[in-house]
């Protein structure tokens, strides 16, 4: 066992890369090269672009496996490896290298990003087969994978920010992939701009880190964090949390995620469910050396997480659009991860555990939703589905595995990961724990609703729709992800994941929960069962109308409107800004320009004068210049003689 004091905050202290670790840079470089070739090569790469674009992330996955195997063979205390690729920015004290850090945390992310990423590339070969711009799609996907890998591999906050913005760009490009649709273009811009609000937090945190520690490197900051005042660390924590809220679609910066479903479904699976949106959780877990010393910031993380769990779940209950339902669920599930991260050393490992299992089952369900849409002429309205289990058996079965995982059916991956977070939350504070339990119940409700509306009941699709199973290039990734959704819980066996991550996040034992662990698990299962039962009463035993009923309660209306998140943004930020800009334009024209241009009248006169002198215009100008020069010489002479 790694000689590690319980409660101590681990320090980043890597050894330099050699042997198999000298391949580390290739993990990022392969997909980056793919993006460059496909996007610069243009139509010359149309024929084979999607194949190259799939092979390169698979190459990264193979290297990630090699690295992981080697890492497991090392001592616990010797599992941090740094590779210096090149000098990036050096000026004054500031010395930022393009440095990569490979440790247990980034190792798991590498496997998730390249593994799930590769599966989604394979799936996309089929899903995008008929899109004339498929090659470009793969270029963007590769850009995303490279950026995400940079994000989780960087050894300093500036490199992390490079990846952070890179994934934001890829997300922007992919949400707006069908940019001939105005709604897609608007959604893409909205996502980027809201993320920029979070970037203010990230940028300011980077400034403050440099001013405080003279560096942006994890190594330096983790070694010296204890020397900074708690106030500073709390502010840093809040700034990082702002960044995390935007990227991970947490309250109050969640409004972009549902619109982001405008992107092709594989994008929703990879970027807006399995990987990118979890970057905020990564950021907080990675910055544990700051949050552990800033309890107030940790409390803020917990509060944000709880609001997001319930907010996202409420949206999930009301949406008839299958992708938006899943998006609400994503917000809620990331809330669980955030909750784990906010609970400190006791929760970091479980946050990452849930992040991984969620990556499996949510990617699985999104791809399943894509498969359903593929068979339903791209209709996303679940009220037009029904009874699809017979038409799409593979999609149905794999989706069902994801469903059982997310609601926390005993034995499935999500059961283990969510249960651990609820248990830790209850041990921390009973109110937090109850909110987390409530969220689990609602999850049971909305996921059952989705399952019933899509695969069970009467068929509600039109005569001209012919639902069919998707080709095997799409179903094989579904099967792999379904298997992972079932078996992902194995990571918890023998406390493997806690021990594995301990060198990065510390080994924190939580306080004893108020109830025995088994009792908590039983209660959680009962709460979920209640949610499932209510959904069964409403959607399993009754007919689902083809159009959404309008005479619904205020609560349902609010949930359909995403709890008025967009209206709040418009009212508080967008509309006042528009008015401000309108005012500023008037001020600029009349006050500023009016004052400094000396009034249009004077200028008009001058213009008139010059027009009259038009013939000799050039001469006039030359003369006045000469006159000016003469004036200068005279002035100098005058001064000289004085």
């Amino acid at each position: 066992m790694y000689a590690f004091n319980e409660g101590a905050i681990p320090v980043v202290d890597p050894t330099s890369a050699d042997g198999v670790y000298s391949l580390l840079w290739l993990v990022v470089a392969l997909p980056l090269a793919g993006a460059a070739i496909l996007l610069v090569g243009g139509r010359y790469t149309d024929k084979w672009g999607h194949l190259l674009g799939t092979l390169l992330p698979i190459g990264s996955f193979v290297i990630s496996l090699l690295l992981f195997a080697d890492l497991l063979g090392r001592d616990d205390g010797d599992r941090q490896i740094k590779q210096h690729v090149f000098d990036w920015i050096q000026t004054g004290h500031l010395d930022v290298g393009m440095d990569l850090l490979y440790d247990p945390l980034s190792a798991l992310f590498l496997l998730l990003v390249t593994g799930v990423g590769s599966l989604i590339h394979v799936y996309s070969i089929g899903y995008m087969a008929h899109d004339p711009r498929r090659r470009r799609f793969f270029g963007y996907l590769n850009l995303f994978v490279a950026s995400m890998l940079m994000l989780v591999l960087s050894e300093n906050f500036l490199g992390l920010f490079l990846g952070w913005e890179g994934v934001g760009l890829a997300s922007y490009l992919l949400i707006g992939f069908w940019q001939h649709k105005p709604s897609a273009a608007a959604a893409a811009k909205k996502a980027f701009v809201i993320n920029r609000v979070g970037d203010m937090g990230m940028s300011t945190a980077i400034m403050m880190l440099f001013v405080t520690f003279g560096s942006t490197s994890f190594t330096v900051i983790s070694a010296n964090a204890a020397g900074a005042s708690e106030t500073k660390l709390t502010i840093l924590g809040f700034l990082l949390l702002l960044g995390a809220c935007a990227k991970s679609a947490q309250f109050p910066l969640q409004a972009w995620l549902l619109d982001a479903m405008e992107g092709p479904t594989p994008v929703s699976a990879l970027i807006h469910a399995a990987t990118m949106v979890t970057a905020g959780v990564y950021l907080i877990v990675r910055s544990n050396f700051i949050f552990e010393l800033a309890p107030d910031a940790q409390t803020a993380v917990v509060v944000i997480a709880l609001i997001s769990i319930l907010w996202g779940a409420a949206i999930g209950c009301a949406k008839d659009d299958i992708k938006k339902g899943l998006a609400g669920s994503t917000m809620s599930q990331i809330g669980y991860m955030m909750l784990g991260a906010g609970l400190g050393a006791a929760g970091y490992a479980f946050a990452i555990f849930h992040l991984l299992t969620h990556g499996f089952f949510k990617a699985n369900m999104f791809l399943g939703a894509g498969s359903v849409m593929h068979g339903m002429n791209d209709d996303v309205d679940m009220r037009h589905y029904g009874a699809l289990r017979k038409m799409m058996p593979v999609t149905f079965l794999t989706f069902a595995m994801g469903y059982l995982a997310i609601i926390g059916f005993p034995g499935f991956s999500g059961f283990w990961s969510k249960d651990k977070i609820i248990e830790t939350a209850l041990a921390d504070n009973w109110l937090v724990g109850i909110c987390a339990l409530l969220g689990a119940g609602i999850t049971g409700f909305y996921m059952t609703r989705m399952m019933l509306m899509t695969f069970f009941g009467e068929k509600r699709w039109e005569r001209e729709v012919h639902p069919h199973e998707s080709p095997s290039v799409m179903t094989i990734p579904l099967i792999v992800l379904a298997a992972l959704s079932v078996l992902g819980g194995v990571m918890l066996a023998g406390d493997w994941i806690q021990d594995f991550l301990a060198p990065v996040v510390g080994a924190g034992a939580h306080d004893d929960p108020p109830l025995p662990a088994l009792a908590i698990t039983t209660i959680a299962v009962l709460v979920v069962a209640t949610g499932v039962a209510i959904a069964w009463m409403l959607f399993g035993r009754q007919q689902v109308p083809r159009t959404a009923p309008q005479d619904v309660s205020f609560v349902t209306r609010a949930a359909r409107e995403e709890l008025y998140g967009n209206q709040i943004n418009d009212g508080l930020v967008v509309n006042p800004s528009r008015r401000l800009i309108g005012g500023l334009l008037l001020v600029d024209k009349h006050v500023v320009d009016g004052t400094f241009t000396g009034g249009p009248l004077a200028l008009g006169d001058l213009g008139g004068f010059l027009r009259r002198a038009q013939n000799g215009f050039v001469r006039t100008y030359a003369l006045s210049l000469l006159g000016g020069a003469l004036l200068v010489v005279l002035a100098l002479l005058a001064v000289n003689l004085a």
């Binding site: 243009g42 090149f86 000098d87 990036w88 920015i89 000026t91 004054g92 004290h93 500031l94 920010f161 490079l162 952070w164 890179g166 760009l169 707006g176 940019q179 001939h180 608007a186 811009k189 980027f192 701009v193 920029r196 609000v197 970037d199 203010m200 940028s203 300011t204 980077i206 400034m207 403050m208 440099f210 001013v211 405080t212 520690f213 003279g214 560096s215 190594t219 070694a223 010296n224 020397g227 900074a228 401000l580 800009i581 500023l584 334009l585 500023v592 004052t595 400094f596 241009t597 000396g598 200028l603 001058l606 213009g607 010059l610 100008y621 200068v632 002035a635 100098l636 001064v639 000289n640």
Partner: protein, 509 residues
């Protein structure tokens, strides 16, 4: 070889080119003047590269040439380059040939020879500005740049260009007049101290009294604030960029305006270090207002060229902020910002020019769905826009984060206000892109063509520079760092140590 007066050759070459182009026999429709002009600009580029190759990063002012010009006033013909000058010179010599290629047909309805000649003349004087190490010589070429600039705006461009050119000239002459007074004042101080001299090196040795120094500083600063421009003397910028051709706007905003921020570093900080620190709170406030105000006003524009022009107001705010933060990061960030802004904004202007030429309008509200017909045009426009909004991985980010760091170091709330610029930049760039490029193909656009080879040749080098220096800015930093170090030393400030000492480092020492 080394006896060659490299810098004189550098600025004389485009001037000769301008004359040759202007006086070549002009058959209607002849491309000869354009070709001649391009050759001269490429030769100038070659000389610029030759200077860069021979430049020794650690060695201060180099390639110096000093000849007495007007002995009675201590005026010299004195040239030299350090890191600051070198980077701006390289940016200038690289941009001019690209502008000529991009604007190949832009002046065909008027006089293409005249356009090329004025552009080369502007290049010549700008290079002389960046190389001058005598304040009087600087003043002369500073004013001389207005002549070609005036004719470029006034003769080529859209309706209303006459008014815009006049407004430009009035503002610049106004600033020049104030500068003149300060230049004369400098002479008074210099001759009071003994032999008068306008050489930078001599002036830096002077011990100028506090009040005098402040007055002179204000004179220089006003001229440079109009040139750069900063709030509230920026309104000429929007009118000028709206009416002038995009090629002219590149020369104005990317090259000529840099004289303002160049002057702040070279003269305000170089000659009046104490007064510069005295004025810092006010200058920082103006810079912050420029950043936020410029971005807000840019968001509200309906003319692409006007919008791009106003984004520069925001960026000049950033550059000024970096200069007056008095840290290595701020100074280096400001110098890099000048170069990177030049590259990114040039790309934006040129591609916007391509677009306007295709659509026949520059009104954002009348352009939509361009991406569907011209994906390369749209894609490159997006890259340039992303550079402008400071996306990491593209070069402007490096300069922006350095300036932000220095701003935070100066005062936390200065950094906090400046950082809002990154959100506003995302809004003006991406909203512009959304309105013009996305959506279904507009009716009448069925025949819209994508970029041709000539148009690509003019912007692809800019794209490569944006990406390359985004990932590997070290060549630029290696050149600018020593200059900033010596400047800060001259000013008498040193970087703050981090608040929390690095224990690990202490342990090893």
């Amino acid at each position: 070889m080394n006896d060659l007066p490299w810098l004189t050759v550098l600025w004389a070459l485009p001037l000769v080119g301008a004359l040759v182009t202007a006086f070549l026999p002009k058959a209607p429709g002849s491309v000869l003047p354009k070709q001649a002009g391009l050759v001269f600009s490429l030769l100038t580029l070659a000389v610029g590269i030759a200077i860069a190759v021979q430049y020794d990063t650690g060695d201060g002012m180099q390639f110096t040439e000093t000849h007495t010009w007007i002995e009675a006033f201590g005026v010299h013909y004195a040239l030299g380059v350090d890191g600051l000058s070198l980077l701006l010179i390289l940016m200038t010599v690289a941009l001019v040939p690209l502008v000529l290629v991009a604007a190949w047909n832009e002046a065909d309805d008027r006089s293409p020879a005249a356009f090329v000649a004025w552009a080369l003349a502007l290049e010549s004087f700008s290079l002389a500005v960046f190389a001058a190490t005598d304040v009087f010589l600087f003043y002369v070429v500073f004013e001389a740049t207005l002549i070609p600039a005036y004719f470029l705006i006034g003769r080529f461009g859209r309706a209303g260009r006459g008014y815009a050119a006049l407004k430009f000239l009035m503002y610049q002459l106004g600033g020049g007049l104030v500068l003149l007074a300060a230049v004369i004042g400098l002479y008074v101080v210099s001759s009071d101290a003994g032999t008068p001299s306008y050489l930078l090196g001599d002036l830096q040795q002077l011990d100028i009294g506090t009040d005098t120094q402040r007055w002179l500083f204000v004179g220089f600063m006003i001229a440079f604030a109009i040139k750069a421009p900063l709030f509230p003397v920026h309104t000429w910028l929007a009118d000028t960029t709206e009416k002038a051709t995009p090629g002219t706007s590149v020369l104005l905003v990317c090259v000529l305006d840099k004289i303002g921020t160049y002057g702040m570093l070279r003269f305000c900080l170089g000659l009046f270090p104490e007064a510069s620190q005295w004025a810092t709170p006010v200058v920082v406030a103006i810079a912050l207002v420029s950043i936020v105000y410029g971005a807000f006003v840019a968001i509200g524009q309906d003319d692409i060229l006007r919008l791009i022009g106003l984004t520069s107001l925001s960026h000049f705010g950033f550059i000024t902020l970096g200069i007056f933060a008095f840290t290595s990061q701020g100074g280096t960030g400001a110098i890099l910002y000048m170069v990177n802004h030049g590259v990114a904004t040039a790309a934006l202007f040129l591609i916007a020019g391509y677009l306007i030429r295709r659509k026949g309008t520059s009104l954002i509200s009348q352009i939509t769905g361009v991406e569907s017909k011209a994906p390369v045009l749209a894609g490159l426009f997006l890259v340039a826009g992303l550079a402008t909004l400071g996306l990491p991985g593209l070069s402007q980010f490096v300069s922006e984060i350095l300036v932000l760091i220095s701003a935070f170091d100066y005062h936390w709330w200065v950094g906090a206000i400046a950082v809002t610029g990154i959100v506003l930049a995302a809004v003006y760039v991406l909203w512009l892109y959304q309105r013009t490029m996305t959506g279904p193909t507009a009716p009448g656009d069925e025949a819209l063509t994508d970029l041709n080879r000539r148009e690509l040749v003019a912007v692809v080098p800019l794209m490569l520079a944006l990406v390359f220096f985004g990932f590997y800015p070290m060549p630029l930093l290696d050149v600018s760092n020593p200059t900033v170090d010596s400047l800060l030393q001259h000013v008498g400030v040193s970087d703050d140590a981090p608040t929390v000492a690095d224990h690990a480092e202490e342990g090893t020492h």
